[in-house]
């Protein structure tokens, strides 16, 4: 440990592991440590024994739930957009070869008290009760505009500058009713609240295109994919990338105290009486608590069930979006469900999550509309956790701190944070169009 590193990374959450991998690939000398004896930090997946230890103290999991190691329960439930930036990062780094993915069966939306499938095919769209026949025709015109819209080709803009026109103004042109707007904004563009209506329309149009491209990519019933054995595999796979390129890994390192000089610049990290020197530190908020501030809280429930979520056509992996307006809330609520079909539970078992940005101190009451959709559960756990963002100036202290994982359903904001941090750390922009495996194959 008594050496000098270019970068010391603290915490093995997904963001830290992607950065560690990218920096090692760049040829930097990286030391990566975690205070826990497992990979993943906040974004880990727990087995049954770990889950009980976290939420039930000294109780032991009941035998009827099956073997502990058959469970991989995500602590930050999300799905991956099939054509999203995380997939591009995985391909760019060739980390895909360490992982197995399967499509997510379906995406659903809660509307007027019922759960409806977000159409994935012509036939589903035709039959969908989400819109009346005339509204479908109006919506179709809007979808064609979005589909043809190309930022670089002004001919497709139809005279509208989407960096100025608000989403509300754009949609008004097509005369869509509030119900349709709610569907577009929350079930397709995946906005968490209604602020987007008064923001420039470009972001919403891009989000809709991402949804459509992701849906098209693997011909699944949803735009999402998910790794076998749970999301906890992702940080491990990027940690392996880092190790392959020379990164040093140490788990179970208590304390991990970041050391500074008189000017307040980072000089190293101390653990168990030894100090490793470094030029820069990359970490999650928990390692530098006095350089971050609290920006929000996430409420969640984790349920173990013996059946799929009712009214989702027996989907073994599914997402249900409950738009805020449908619940009279300020932000959306999400249901996720995965099962033995993605190897996160033993045969016949399902893991469901209900999560939202917390608006009260009572997750049980707040999450009730989502929990009511689950039907009977074998076990349920409630939790509220704080979200933090950095307040330091990295150019002054050389500390690069990630933002806590938000309640979004996918990884777009996660990867954006990583790419921004990468640029801050290295002064470079990551070119995701380069395929590293092709590059290394060419070298041989």
């Amino acid at each position: 440990m008594d050496e000098e590193y270019d970068v010391i990374v603290l915490g093995t959450g997904l963001k830290e592991c992607i950065l560690s991998g990218l920096l090692s690939v760049d040829g930097l000398k990286v030391l990566h440590m975690d205070r826990n004896d497992y990979y993943g930090g906040e974004s880990t997946s727990l087995n049954l024994i770990q889950l009980w230890r976290r939420f039930r103290g000294n109780d032991k999991p009941p035998a009827h739930l099956g073997s502990s190691r058959d469970y991989n329960v995500d602590m930050i439930p999300k799905f991956m957009m099939a054509n999203g930036t995380l997939v591009r990062v995985l391909i760019h780094t060739d980390v895909t070869k360490y992982l197995y993915f399967k499509a997510v069966d379906g995406s659903y939306v809660f509307n007027k008290g019922k759960v409806h499938k977000v159409p994935a095919t012509d036939m589903e769209a035709l039959k969908s009760p989400l819109m009346g026949i005339f509204e479908k025709r109006r919506a179709r015109k809007f979808f064609i505009y979005v589909q043809d819209y190309d930022e670089k080709d002004p001919k497709t803009h139809e005279g509208l500058d989407l960096t100025r026109v608000t989403t509300r103004e754009l949609i008004a042109k097509y005369g869509l009713d509030d119900n349709t707007v709610d569907f577009i904004g929350h079930a397709l563009a995946l906005h968490r609240d209604d602020r987007y209506l008064n923001e420039p329309a470009l972001d919403t149009v891009k989000r809709m295109k991402l949804y459509a491209e992701s849906l098209a990519r693997f011909q699944g019933g949803s735009p999402y994919i998910y790794p076998l054995y749970g999301l906890g595999e992702l940080p491990q796979a990027f940690a392996r990338l880092s190790a392959v390129y020379g990164g040093t890994y140490m788990l179970n390192k208590p304390e991990c105290k970041v050391e500074f000089n008189e000017e307040g610049k980072v000089i190293g990290v101390t653990s168990e009486g030894e100090t490793a020197r470094c030029k820069k530190v990359v970490c999650d908020p928990s390692y530098l608590p006095n350089k971050v501030r609290k920006v929000g809280r996430v409420a969640r429930a984790i349920a173990i069930m013996s059946h799929p979520i009712p009214n989702t056509n027996d989907s073994h992996s599914v997402q249900v979006i409950l738009p805020q307006k449908q619940l009279g809330r300020k932000s959306d609520m999400y249901l996720f469900c995965c099962s033995y079909s993605h190897n996160v539970a033993p045969k016949g078992k399902f893991i469901a999550f209900v999560s939202t940005e917390a608006e009260t101190d009572h997750p049980e009451t707040e999450l009730k509309p989502g929990i009511d959709l689950l039907g009977p559960v074998d076990e349920i756990f409630f939790d509220v956790y704080d979200r933090y963002e950095p307040v330091n100036e990295p150019s002054l202290d050389n500390c690069f701190i990630s933002t806590s994982y938000d309640a979004t359903t996918h990884f777009e904001s996660t990867v954006m944070d990583v790419l921004n941090m990468y640029t801050l750390i290295t002064g470079k922009v990551l070119d995701l169009s380069v395929d590293l495996s092709a590059a290394s194959a060419a070298e041989e």
């Binding site: 895909t96 197995y100 769209a125 491209e213 491990q236 940690a239 190790a243």
Partner: protein
Amino acid sequence: MARPGNKIIQAKLVLLGDMGTGKTSLVLRFVKGQFFENQEPTIGAAFFTQILSLQEATVKFDIWDTAGQERYHSLAPMYYRGAAAAVVVFDIASKDTFIRAKKWVEELQRQGNSNLVMALVANKSDLEPSREVDTEEGEEFAQENGMFYIETSAKTAENINDLFYEIAQRLAKACPSKPSTMNLNNEVQHRRKLFCCFG
């Protein structure tokens, strides 16, 4: 080359054992027929593929090297996930590495799946004069733990092919099943119209 009409088994094979026991050298000898006296600790490549054709099946190995993560005991559970075969390596000239190999076998029994094909490899058999671990000792431990035992030298190539042929043969009998999953690198074959819907 794969023989036509033969069944194809894709198998993940993991290497375990302490630093410096020659894990990477074993694989490089098997995959590329190369040996370097001063093989650097694993950097840059820790994933190899090799195909072996047998009478009864063609075995495609995905070989995972530790990438140095064994050094501070930070191998991730993902490493063991879905492995069909494991090769635990020690150095015949170092008793310590044999004692540590026993620990790796315990770890495998905890993390790996139950019908794993396991080999205990006594590497560096070219160092016979400085041998610290007797053949009988290795054989006995292997037998007690349902492994097969073989002595190899990546330097002289002794028994390297035999090691992988034996594993392939055992895999052909066990015929491990692979989960059906997608390939992220595949681009869409027939691009579905984006907003197909709402016709």
